[in-house]
């Protein structure tokens, strides 16, 4: 990495089912202003804006980045939109980081959002072209068979998913921005919630949320002056692969493994479970935490579920995962990846309030999208790399 990059400002909206109190420009503006306030900067200090969201069809606005230019202070500046399906919040930040590490810009604002209340993502994900039959609706229909495969391969107990969901939903109660904060959540409530796409229950699924997340990035000398110490970028990585090909392992995709390996190489990580303090990863359906623990190299193959059983991934465990409550608790799709990054960066900046992991020095942010085929990740550190 040629130049160092630090996260100096983080801003999130309150995530909610329907933010009908604001327009789409108003929504992204809210996150952008909070990130600037955190960094003690204004739009005038920003050199370029990189924004991301999931498919245009979710809100029915073509080229929304152009429509939002004045709301995010991009007038007269480079404005770039990134799109990599559900992983877009992560890849958007990665692109923005590259504008700093490459030396092109000094300070970059990056943000991502979704306003799901304007449409219906289940519809948006289930438009079938001519000559075909829609066999399942929505992301759950696609991912449920992969989870069934994982259960068969790993022999994981059937209640693994419930335990993961309970852990994330308890964490969400500590996060004021979380969309779903279910005060009386417990194991039985999740276990008895309706089965949607067997083996995925209602309370093991992510909600549909409106929301935006923003981060201000700065080059090394400017980041060092930030009012709150910066989260330093130790590495970023992206990989993708086709949805289907002969020999594809769609439960433990090679693209995700390669991205993690590349990230750890950049960051000088040899034993990720030991050297990384916590991880905020993209888990839209509870079981994916166990699957991604393996894909990211935190657990041996077919043993990711054991980390859940041992309590390792709980907020007070030795490897906390999804401290914010995760995608299970807030899912503004296009923003979801960046929210993961923001939480990881907040952890190393000691900004995470009640969901702070004591002494977090290195934290992973992770996102995936499509049919488990796009991966983006970033490692943040309290100290410079």
């Amino acid at each position: 990495m040629a130049n160092l990059c630090g996260v100096v400002g983080i801003g999130q909206t309150k995530y909610d089912a329907k933010r009908i109190d604001v327009s789409m420009p108003g929504l992204v503006r809210e996150a952008a202003l909070r990130a600037l306030e955190d960094a003690d900067l204004t739009f005038a200090d920003i050199d370029a804006v990189v924004i991301g969201k999931a498919p245009d069809m979710f809100e029915g606005v073509m080229l929304p980045e152009n429509y939002l230019a004045d709301a995010v202070g991009a007038t007269g500046k480079p404005l770039l939109r990134v799109h990599t399906a559900g992983s877009v919040g992560g890849s958007t930040a990665n692109v923005a980081i590259s504008l700093i590490t490459s030396g092109i810009h000094d300070r970059v604002l990056t943000l991502s959002w979704e306003k799901q209340s304007e449409s219906n993502a289940m519809w948006g994900l289930t438009v079938s072209p001519p000559f075909s039959v829609a066999v399942v609706a929505g992301a759950g229909g696609f991912f449920a068979p992969l989870i069934r495969s994982y259960i068969q391969r790993s022999g994981a107990p059937e209640d693994t998913g419930i335990r993961i969901a309970l852990k994330d939903r308890l964490n969400a109660l500590k996060n004021p921005y979380a969309h779903l904060r279910i005060e009386d959540i417990d194991f039985d409530k999740i276990a008895s919630s309706p089965m949607l796409w067997d083996p995925i229950r209602y309370l093991e699924s992510c909600p549909s949320s409106d929301g935006a997340c923003a981060m201000v990035l700065a080059r090394e000398d400017l980041a060092a002056k930030a009012p709150t110490p910066a989260a330093w970028v130790h590495g970023t990585s992206m990989r993708s692969e086709p949805t289907q090909f002969p020999g594809r392992d769609s439960v433990n995709p090679v693209a995700g493994q390669l991205a993690a390996r590349d990230l750890y190489r950049q960051a000088g990580i040899e034993n990720p479970r030991q050297e990384i303090d916590c991880a905020e990863i993209y888990v839209p359906f509870s079981w994916f935490e166990a699957m991604w623990m393996e894909n990211l190299g935190f657990a041996p193959e077919n043993e990711g579920w054991k980390m859940v059983y041992e309590g390792a991934t709980a907020l007070d465990g030795d490897f906390p995962v999804n401290m914010s409550g995760g995608v299970l608790s807030s899912n503004a799709i296009g923003a979801s990846g960046m929210i993961r990054y923001a939480e990881a960066a907040m952890q190393v900046r000691s900004q995470a309030g009640e969901h702070q992991v004591e002494g977090a020095r290195k934290a992973l942010g992770h996102a995936y999208g499509g049919g488990s085929q796009y991966f983006s990740m970033c490692l943040f550190g309290k100290e410079k790399p």
């Binding site: 327009s23 420009p25 004045d70 202070g73 007038t75 306003k115 219906n120 001519p130 000559f131 392992d249």
Partner: protein, 189 residues
């Protein structure tokens, strides 16, 4: 590059090179549809299946404080703009100053009349367009505004249009919420 796991014990299968076109709607002689032919782009256009693919959704747009007032105004037959930092008036109003990015809040009544700044004649209207007879899409600068509003002008024939021609809104009989609460503009006088 990617480590592959390919099943080695797949049962042997015989390739076939011809596919019979037997469906009633695609009658005619049997054709050879090898992929070589396909990839060499020798497959006639009428040999490739085509079909309509319609994507349709009634998006519900949250308006926020500024456009909410603008569309509310249309239902009261009022046209609102908003004043920029520079003093210029934007119509339709926007939440943030396109020059400075500041939040805007000073509403200004504009119109209802205005003048045509430019237009494009639509001689064969399409089904979802505002009028079912030939009309113009025009950029209209409403009185008091510094920007233009795009809308339909029902002028009957193109020869009646000119830059600077005065127009006035024709309000929808039943406001439904949206820019078509102005049914269209028409020439004054």
């Amino acid at each position: 590059m990617i480590a592959l796991r390919v099943r080695q014990d797949a049962p042997p299968v015989e390739p076939i090179v011809a596919v019979r076109r037997s469906a009633p709607t695609h009658g005619g002689p049997m054709r050879r549809l090898t992929m070589e032919k396909v990839m060499a782009q020798t497959l006639a256009a009428d040999e490739v299946l085509r079909g309509p693919h319609v994507l349709e959704y009634p998006y519900r747009r949250s308006l926020g404080p500024v456009l909410g007032r603008f569309f509310g105004g249309l239902q009261e037959h009022r046209l609102l703009g908003i004043r920029m930092r520079s003093g210029k008036v934007l119509v339709p109003p926007q939440e943030y100053d396109p020059q400075t990015g500041e939040a805007l809040e000073e509403f200004v009544d504009v119109g209802p009349g205005g003048e045509i700044v430019s237009w494009s004649w639509v001689s064969k209207p399409r089904p979802k367009q505002p009028l079912d007879r030939p009309f113009a899409f025009a950029l209209i600068r409403l009185d008091g505004a510094d920007t233009t509003l795009l809308h339909a002008v029902d002028a009957g024939e193109e020869s009646k249009l000119s830059v600077g021609a005065r127009v006035t809104p024709r309000w929808a009989e039943e406001p439904g919420g949206g820019i078509l609460d102005i049914a269209c503009f028409e020439l004054e006088g």
